[in-house]
Assembly symmetry: C2
């Protein structure tokens, strides 16, 4: 493997770490991991089998423990938390930012949560409670209440003096927020403007109010889209009364985008994106069998269709040989259409206004591909079984199945979106069920009518 | 569709736009689109069928044209460029940032490129040539040469005066870079530190040199990973001699992450991530048929396996009815393992050091799932065809196929990674080819041996 992964930092770290663990000397292991960022440590822990993972977890600097917990998937997080006693846990998480704490708190044992709430001052406790009052995957949960605010009726000079007194700013601060006495958001001033303006310039001349603030109830998905459409680094979050609650920074948005992509990729195979690479066998079996069961149901449906044509197959065994081709390629064609539609829906590019045009385009593509692929398969079938009518039957069946694949590929995800089902996760099963059933039925049905006359 | 997408801004814009276009009055259309960010306009253009797309494209403010071109997929970009005359094109792109221009330049007609190079001053021309000297998808291509540098032997006060003289800073500037006389990178100073430090503090006290700079030849993927591991907003890019060439900002990284995710999702269905939702039928046919052809080859392979058992199927037609179940569910199980592996490889979490442990885990999961699913299918087969030996045969075949699915799911992507083939794109075909062949062969083979004794 060494050459293939030489450009990959994590893989290299993993190899170094494995070698160090193999040698049994933990000093070098500890030194190695504590040069890494918490996200990198999290990634490494996820790549280790359970026994080694626990050894390494014990060697992570206590001050990084909290950040590492934030950066691992739910299943791995659970196993790490199970390995810590309550005091360690409290120490690890009590200094986290409120948004990270809100993310973790539901995975913590109740006793620990109580202890943490007690150790917090009133302001932070209220902030945490406020964050938790919003649903998961909303702006209210993602935001960090730690913001720097200024008044409009002051000058650059005064603000700079205030900042010097204040000292360190929250991470990724690129704007100061301008609020009124009721803490309502009036606009923001970029640090860039602050450092390029003369000391005497009044702040209200530097205020930018062109951007729109994010509402605390907005979905994480919509937040991510706005950040990438507008190239924001941070954005303020307000409640319905335009009161400034906090801000969201791009690093959290990057995590959201990564998670969404993983959810889609793993969801399409019926997997949970939080599945641990090394989850216990029992858990992995449970996690996967539901999905296999759903697919089994559609496989039985297809088998039932074939079962109706037993008499036909008995007479022409060639049908049994060729029928998986019709179903399989139809499925591939359907998945292509579905994949395009899923992307289009995720980007908001497909709606009632253009679905018709799209459907018509896809049906034409399917007819042409069906004729091309079907024609070729027909010729092969003729050459193989010396029966030109069999060739005609399989060509016709493929054209029919490609057309149905296009219809299903366009209409199934639209219907799912309407019913609030994620087409990225559930679309594939339904579309291949359609192409299996239509494939077997049209091929065996046409064969019965035409070849057994 | 109206209710289902009510939270989705793009879909709402699309509907408004379609209504306005339907009404035929272009004034409201123009007003609507020119309130949008270029990325949003790009997204809208991608959602419109070709005729409407060209109408709207004609209404976009000329000054946004260049940015919009940067934000659409290759195929749509081509159609928009084809609609512009050379002068319009030159005007649209000449004010773009160097990194955006480098991204566009290869899609422009040669005449236009020449004109743009002529219209540029020497410094910018050299910068563009430098960017183009790096391969696509490397840091050298992504970087923007527009950076603010300062010297170490100065003070906060002097730097602030310099910045006030300079005026506006490049977008998303969060650091100033400290260089020596040979423009080698010594470190960087955060704007945050600048605004919180006393005027007399020397710059060399504020320098942060803990981060590592990005090398111009590094891959976009590695850049994206470092940004998300370290929560960076921007990072400096240097050459082999540590000379500062430019910087990469998080907004470009967000685009990379989105593109990678699209590449994976669409690649798995044999689609190009730049495929236009409304690409001309001829082009769509061409784009998809190669992939269908590859899948067809594997389908013929499976058919050939079945063909070897024609005599067996002739005697026991039930086999034809049940055989797609063995192949299909085996394929689903294999895709689950493959999907986990593809993610693990993308994150650098899988390598020689843990592949063995993973394989052993997946084989155990496969044996258990094979026995559970296989046992159930065996019972159904017995109930359906009243033949207990048939039930035993299909159970055994499923256990065998699940095991091979696990082996293929783990080993195929590892081998592909080693051979520098993207397992996210090519893994699925190979794994399902294995599960098809093994599924049909084990089921029909066992049936021949056991049932036809």
């Amino acid at each position: 493997m060494a050459e293939a992964v030489r450009h990959d930092k994590t893989a290299r770290q993993l190899r170094l770490l494995s070698d160090a663990l193999d040698s049994g000397r933990l000093g070098p292991v500890r030194r190695l991991i504590n040069t890494l960022a918490p996200a990198e440590i999290g990634n490494l822990l996820e790549s280790l089998p359970p026994d080694r993972r626990m050894v390494v977890w014990g060697l992570v600097d206590a001050e990084d423990d909290g950040e590492v917990l934030v950066h691992v998937g739910d299943e791995v997080r659970e196993s790490l938390i199970a390995d810590m006693d309550p005091d360690e846990l409290v120490a690890a998480v009590e200094d986290l930012d409120i948004d990270d704490l809100a993310d973790l708190v539901e995975d913590l044992p109740e006793a620990v949560t109580g202890q943490i709430l007690q150790s917090m001052d009133r302001e932070n406790r209220e902030r945490l409670e406020q964050a938790l009052s919003y649903e998961e995957d909303t702006a209210g949960r993602l935001m960090n209440p730690d913001v720097v605010t200024v008044r409009a009726d002051t000058t650059v000079d005064v603000v700079l003096r205030f900042l010097r007194l204040r000292g360190e700013l929250p991470e990724n601060t690129d704007h100061l927020y301008v609020v009124n006495r009721r803490h309502q958001l009036l606009g923001w001033v970029a640090l860039q403007k602050l450092v390029t303006s003369e000391p005497g310039v009044p702040i209200n001349k530097l205020i930018d109010d062109e951007l729109t603030a994010i509402h605390a109830a907005e979905s994480a998905e919509s937040v991510a889209r706005q950040f990438s459409d507008h190239d924001w680094v941070s954005a303020p979050v307000v409640d319905e009364g335009n009161v400034l609650l906090g801000r969201i920074t791009i690093d959290d948005v990057v995590d959201i985008i990564r998670e969404q992509a993983e959810h889609q990729a793993l969801g399409a195979a019926g997997l949970d994106e939080d599945e641990d690479l090394f989850s216990p066998v029992k858990r992995a079996v449970r996690g996967r069998i539901v999905w296999l069961g759903v697919n089994l149901a559609t496989a039985f449906l297809a088998a039932a269709v074939i079962g109706r044509f037993e008499a036909t197959i008995e007479k022409i065994v060639a049908l049994a040989v060729l029928m998986p081709i019709v179903a399989g390629i139809g499925g591939n064609a359907g998945m292509q259409v579905l994949t395009l539609m899923v992307r289009g829906l995720a980007l908001g590019q497909v709606g009632a206004s253009n679905a018709g045009v799209l459907l018509w385009k896809e049906v034409r593509v399917a007819l042409i591909n069906g004729l091309l692929i079907g024609g070729f398969v027909g010729l092969v079938a003729f050459a193989w079984f010396q029966d030109w009518l069999l060739g005609v039957v399989i060509t016709a069946a493929l054209v029919i199945n490609f057309s149905c694949a296009a219809l299903a590929g366009v209409l199934v995800p639209l219907a799912m979106k309407r019913a609030d089902v994620d087409p990225a996760v559930a679309g594939g099963v339904v579309v291949t069920a359609v192409t299996d059933v239509v494939g077997f039925f049209s091929f065996l049905g046409l064969a019965t009518v035409i070849l057994l006359r």
